[in-house]
Structures are given as structure tokens and as C-alpha cells.
């Protein structure tokens, strides 16, 4: 995690901004490319480039981990009633528990720092991916899965060729939610030394520096908007395709 952050920090910010803008443009259209460029330039101008990168890495890695765990779990929950009955209350619990609580068990395992923060973020942010994956699969029209059966699909063929592609827009909405939740954990994760924009906010609170706090808060909001719009647009494109 540190390595990745370090590498990004070593690269020239303007180059990274250009790359990010082009990626957003290719994936989600020129408007969002422009939005990404403007947003990131603004953050750079605020002097929050380095903490932003740390936050971004935390969010992206947490989301990846959440999807890696959440997607299979969601699939299992959709296909087996028993798994669904088992996971559903767990998900409720994970989402309603104050997110601070996840920091506590993480510390003895991973110590203070980014890894613990990542763990807590994954626990907090994974539920929407699990839930919406399961929902998406359960909502695939019955006649379509029936057609798959009629042509003699195995369970795996049905999943890969029929259910997942049909559920993809819903799954993407879940992943989008997960990203947003991960971002909302940033400030809290800073309590155990995760660094990034969260730490900026945290220090500002301790020193009662309103201006600095606002800047960091706005930076988080800008990052949130960029991530949200880009992933949403990607989901919409997938649906249309």
C-alpha cells in the first residue's frame, strides 16, 4: 500500500491528472473527463495532492478487496436460500454498527496504520456490493433463466452467460455504493493513523483551523463526486452495451 502511494507520489502530478482525465474520458465520456481534470487540478492547487493520493489508494484498494469478497458472497446468497438467511442479518449488523467499532479489532491484528484502516473500511463498505449482487441476480426475469434451463445450461453456464450479465447494472450500482462508503470512512480511519485527507481534517479539528478543515472537507467531496460520476457513467454504458 505504501509502495503504491509512494510510486504515485513520485510521478509528476500534472501527468497523473492528464492520465486520469483521459481514462475518465474513454470510460465515461468527455464531460466526465473534463470534470476529472478540473477537480484534480483544483485539489492540486489547494496543495492537497499528496494526501489525496493516499486517500485514493486506500479507497481503491478497500473497494477492490470489498468486491473480491462481496461479489462471490452475493452470488452465493442469491443462489442459496440458506446462505442468504445467514448473510442478511450479518449485513444489517455490519451497516448499522458505528463504523468506529471496526477499528478496535483491527488494531491488535494489524497495528495502527493504513492496513487496519483498510480492513475496517472493507468491513464497513462491503455490504452494498453483497446485497446488490444478490438482488441483481434474484431480479433476473424468471423467463430468461427458464430459457437457460430449457437449453440445458449447467449452473455455471447459467451464472456466467445469463445471470451475471443481466445483473451487471445492479452490481455496478452496488460497487458504486461501496466506493462512496469507503470514502466516508476516510476521516474515521485517520483516527488510527491512515493518513491522507482524513488526517488533514483531523488535525484541523484538533487545532480548530476552520479554513484548513473546510479545504480538506471540500477535497473529499470533490474526490467523491469524481468517483461517483465516473463509476455511474461506466455502469450506464455497460447497461446500454
Amino acid at each position: 500500500m505504501g509502495g503504491l502511494t509512494g510510486a504515485l507520489q513520485a510521478a509528476p502530478p500534472l501527468l497523473l491528472i492528464a492520465v486520469a482525465a483521459v481514462l475518465a474520458w474513454r470510460a465515461a465520456g468527455w464531460r466526465l473527463g473534463l470534470l476529472t481534470a478540473c477537480g484534480l487540478l483544483f485539489l492540486w492547487d489547494l496543495g492537497l495532492w499528496t494526501p489525496m493520493l493516499a486517500t485514493l489508494v486506500l479507497v481503491v484498494l478497500s473497494t477492490l478487496a470489498a468486491v473480491l469478497v462481496g461479489l462471490p458472497l452475493g452470488i452465493a446468497a442469491a443462489l442459496s436460500r440458506r446462505v442468504w438467511r445467514l448473510t442478511s442479518p450479518c449485513l444489517d449488523l455490519m451497516q448499522t454498527m458505528p463504523s468506529f467499532v471496526y477499528l478496535i479489532p483491527a488494531i491488535p491484528f494489524f497495528g495502527l496504520g493504513a492496513v487496519s484502516a483498510c480492513f475496517a473500511t472493507v468491513v464497513f463498505a462491503a455490504p452494498p456490493t453483497v446485497r446488490l449482487t444478490a438482488l441483481g441476480i434474484l431480479q433476473v426475469p424468471h423467463d430468461v433463466t427458464e430459457a437457460a434451463d430449457a437449453f440445458g445450461c449447467t449452473a455455471w453456464q447459467k451464472l456466467v452467460k445469463v445471470q451475471l450479465p443481466n445483473a451487471l447494472p445492479t452490481i455496478m450500482a452496488g460497487i458504486n455504493q461501496t466506493i462512496m462508503l469507503a470514502l466516508s470512512m476516510v476521516v474515521i480511519a485517520a483516527m488510527i493513523g491512515a493518513g491522507g485527507l482524513g488526517r488533514e481534517v483531523w488535525t484541523a479539528i484538533q487545532r480548530l483551523e476552520t479554513g484548513r478543515g473546510c479545504q480538506a472537507g471540500i477535497a473529499i467531496a470533490v474526490l467523491a463526486v469524481i468517483l461517483d460520476r465516473v463509476t455511474n457513467a461506466m455502469a450506464r454504458r455497460m447497461q446500454a452495451a
Partner: protein, 363 residues
């Protein structure tokens, strides 16, 4: 060959209870009231020979779709036996059933059931893809099937971009491409406009003649059933009330329900010349056109309109079996019994052909 016996199928939580009530002879409504369970099929038997086309007819909710789904066990009946091509379908495990469905059944769905994320071509390829057929080969088969249903040029569109009738044809192409020996078709032409519908019916009949497919075709359009020309099984409230050719059902409806069902049928395309022919009359002399016994009345009408009153009727072997008069044809069209004609003394009651009796029972 498909042979189903004693199929019972109930939907609902209290299946056992409903079944035992059913065996005790309770009515569907009583079972519905007591247990909240729907009886979709009640002791249905069915036999479709190889290469035969059976049309399953009945009002909405009479259990046609359920019966069709039982045949490839998309729905497992609560009791009964199903044998297809000599194999016991009820006894199959899931693996065996899968293999069996791939090889044996092509299915067209009432609501199309196309895959929205795939192109039309990819949809049509689906069955072959599942069977593991190589890409190039399945593409060729899919293009052929699309050609057959008149969707050539639409390969790269998505189902969402097609009209209802086109979706239906895409669904049909998907079933045809899979090259199964039995086609299960659930209201496969329901969304087509009359012209294309007519073409597709003719196409299906030709296809069936050519490829000797066994077809079970669900429809609630009697004229469609007649056009397809197969045997008809009429369903009501989850049971088959009558089973036979259109002509035999028209001649002797088993229940008032069947009678009402066939009341508005186009008789001219159902009745055959042979059944209407007067077997005791002598054919006119001279070189007039001759009617074939298996012609429908509709086909015979233009010939009857010309020439003298009364044309000779031949059987397949070319032997003259009787005479069809204009009066008999008109009476059949009017669904009236042919009255005795005093000026025609040769027609004694004893020599009235059985066809008059059939015509008189149409009512």
C-alpha cells in the same frame, strides 16, 4: 415419441394436501378455497408420435404452458409419468436431464425470453453455444435460422431494438438453430401480424414435413390450429377435454365448452371433401374437374363454382368415391343439415352418407 400419463401439477405451499383432495375427486375451486393451491394440471395424458404436430389449445389459464413445461421438466409434475423417445424423463437426474434437454428439446417461449445483453445473432447461437459447438459452425447455423424466419440483416441488433413480432421470430430462430428433434412452442406466433403469422404457419408446416420434427404447439387461436393441420388437444381447467383432428372435433364436440370453442371456426378450411361427398350419387358425364378427397372445402369451392352442379370426388388411389354438390357445400358452410329434397327421389334416408350426420351435428 412423447407419452405422458396421469400428469398432475399443483402450485402452492400445501401440495400434498391438494393432491390428496384432487384424488378424492374434489373440484379445483374447492381445493383453491381450502388450501390456496392452484391445480394447473389434473390427470393429463398425452401422446405425440414422432414427426407429428400436436396443437394444444384452450382458454387462458387452462394449463397449456404448464403442460408444455412438464414435458422437458422445466416444471416437475407432482405426479404422473413422462416418457420421451423411450426414456423416463421423471427418473432423470439433473445431469442427465441437462444432456437430454440439449439434444432433444428446442423451446419457443410465450414471452420471448431473449437475452437482452446479447445481439440477435448471439441469442440465436445460444443453444449451440451451450452444447459446445465450435464458433464458426454455430454462427453458420444461426445465420441460416435467422434467414428462415426473415430476420437476415438484423444479426447485430439487440433484442431491445426489435418489435414484438421480430423478437418472437428471433426466439423461434433460437429454437430452430439448436437443431433438436422436438420443438416445444408456446404461443410462438402470438405476437405476429396476420400476414407474417400466416407465412410462419406455412413455413412451420413445410419445415415439419421436411425435417420430420415432433412439434407440440400451444395456441389459443383455433384457426391457427387448423392452419397447422395437426391433431388438436383441447384443454379446460387443467384437463384435456377432447383430442383429435379439427374435423373430428368439429363433427362431434365432446362438451358444451368444446362446442362453444369451435363455434366460430372457419369450417371451409376444416371440412374435407371426402366427408361431404354423397357416396350414392353418380358423377356427371364429361371432362369436368375432379375433386381430391383430402382437399378442404375451401380448396374445392372455386372448382365447384365452375362447371355443372356436382363434381366427382376421388380418393388417393384415384378411385371415384362419390359426388360433391353445390347444395351440400353450401349447407356445410352454413353449418346446416342438408335437408331432403323431394325432387331428388334417389336420395333415400338409408343412403344418406355419414357426412350429413356429421354436418348436422355441428349446430
Amino acid at each position: 415419441m412423447i407419452l405422458a400419463e396421469g400428469l398432475r401439477c399443483v402450485f402452492g405451499a400445501r401440495e400434498r394436501e391438494a393432491l390428496s383432495m384432487l384424488r378424492a375427486g374434489e373440484s379445483r375451486t374447492a381445493i383453491m378455497e381450502r388450501t390456496g393451491t392452484v391445480v394447473a394440471l389434473d390427470d393429463v395424458g398425452l401422446r405425440v408420435d414422432e414427426g407429428e404436430l400436436l396443437v394444444v389449445m384452450g382458454l387462458s389459464g387452462s394449463g397449456k404452458s404448464t403442460l408444455l413445461r412438464c414435458l422437458n421438466r422445466l416444471v416437475t409434475p407432482s405426479s404422473g409419468s413422462i416418457r420421451v423417445a423411450g426414456q423416463d424423463v421423471m427418473a432423470m437426474g439433473s445431469r442427465e436431464l441437462r444432456r437430454f434437454r440439449r439434444r432433444t428439446f428446442g423451446m419457443v417461449f410465450q414471452h420471448f425470453a431473449l437475452l437482452a445483453h446479447r445481439t440477435v445473432l448471439q441469442n440465436v447461437e445460444f443453444g449451440l453455444e451451450i452444447q459446445g459447438v465450435a464458433r464458426r459452425e454455430r454462427r453458420r447455423a444461426a445465420e441460416q435460422a435467422l434467414d428462415l424466419v426473415g430476420l437476415a440483416g438484423w444479426e447485430d441488433k439487440r433484442p431491445g431494438q426489435l418489435s414484438g413480432g421480430m423478437k418472437q421470430r428471433a426466439g423461434l430462430a433460437r429454437a430452430l438453430a439448436a437443431d433438436a428433434s422436438i420443438l416445444l412452442m408456446d404461443e410462438a406466433f402470438g405476437a405476429l401480424d396476420p400476414l407474417i403469422r400466416h407465412d410462419m404457419q406455412a413455413e412451420l408446416v413445410a419445415l415439419q414435413r421436411r425435417l420430420r420434427k415432433t412439434i407440440v404447439f400451444v395456441s389459443h387461436d383455433l384457426d391457427e390450429a387448423v392452419a397447422l393441420g395437426g391433431r388438436i388437444a383441447l384443454m379446460m381447467d387443467g384437463a384435456i377435454v377432447q383430442d383429435g383432428t379439427a374435423e373430428s372435433i368439429l363433427a362431434a364436440p365432446a362438451t358444451p365448452y368444446v362446442k362453444r370453442f369451435v363455434a366460430h371456426i372457419d369450417v371451409s378450411s376444416v371440412l374435407r371433401v371426402a366427408t361431404l361427398a354423397d357416396r350414392s350419387a353418380t358423377p356427371p358425364r364429361g371432362s369436368w374437374p375432379v375433386l381430391q378427397g383430402d382437399m378442404t372445402l375451401r380448396e374445392a369451392l372455386p372448382l365447384l363454382a365452375e362447371g355443372p352442379d356436382g363434381l366427382a370426388v376421388q380418393d388417393e388411389a384415384g378411385r371415384t368415391i362419390g359426388v360433391l354438390s353445390r347444395r351440400a357445400a353450401l349447407a356445410a358452410l352454413a353449418r346446416q343439415p342438408l335437408k331432403e329434397e323431394p325432387a331428388w327421389p334417389s336420395l333415400s334416408p338409408a343412403s344418406r352418407s355419414p357426412s350429413y350426420a356429421t354436418a348436422s351435428s355441428i349446430g
